[in-house]
């Protein structure tokens, strides 16, 4: 009887593992699309509202997807600290803190890091151009991520359940 409960626990744990991993793969395209939308908001704020960077970041954090609002909130906080660091450095720090809790991978973070080096050091039109470049790169990454997700998500789910079954049989 106890053996049966243990076997069920192992099976559930492995299946959960597989499902969670598949979930991460599916979250990534959604988060990349959310990032695109947030960058569009930032571009609008900077180009048409001429809002200073900390306020613009906070505005975007309030209006974008909750999953990635944290990044902009962190950047706004770092900028308001006024400890002499540039906009790019504040962005890097916020990115380093925020990136582990997202489903984004190194490629996406690299795209975002490149944006950081051009934040706040040029005029509005130039900022808008850099933001457009980042958005198009993110769009390409998003379509690739969607393809990846469709391929891998079901595979990881199956793999999770099957390896649970395997462990149960081996340890029986």
């Amino acid at each position: 009887m106890l053996k049966l409960i243990g076997a069920c626990l192992i099976l559930t744990a492995c299946a959960n593992f597989g499902f969670t991993w598949a979930g991460i793969y599916e979250k990534r395209p959604r988060q990349i699309k959310g990032l695109e939308g947030a960058l569009q908001l930032l571009e609008t704020e900077i180009l048409y509202g001429a809002t200073p960077l900390p306020d613009a970041m906070e505005e975007v954090a309030l209006r974008c997807d909750s999953e990635i609002a944290g990044l902009f909130r962190e950047t706004a906080r770092e900028l308001r600290k006024m400890d002499g660091s540039t906009g790019g450095e504040a962005w890097q720090r916020a990115l380093d803190e925020f990136f582990p809790v997202t489903a984004l991978n190194k490629q996406d973070v690299h795209i975002l890091r490149r944006l950081g080096s051009s934040l706040g050091i040029s005029d509005r039109e130039d900022q808008a151009k850099h933001l457009k470049l980042t958005k198009s790169q993110l769009a390409a990454a998003a379509s690739q991520a969607e393809m990846n997700a469709k391929k891998s998500a079901t595979v990881y789910r199956y793999l999770g359940v099957l390896s649970g079954l395997l462990l149960v049989l081996v340890l029986y």
Partner: protein, 65 residues
Amino acid sequence: MDTELIFQLAGISIVITVIYTVLKQAGRDEFAFSTLLLGIVVVLAMVIPKIADLFETVRSVFRIY
């Protein structure tokens, strides 16, 4: 007389075959192959002690060598 071993081996082979097919279909051929090897090693590890027992029993029954 350990009849459960047969069912265990059958179950493991079926699961390994399904994993192999799923991985191959998903394109990860090397991973599928290494899972297959892992399964073979596990099955061998379960079967070899029984074969050793068999030889021991035969030896003690017939007392030939």
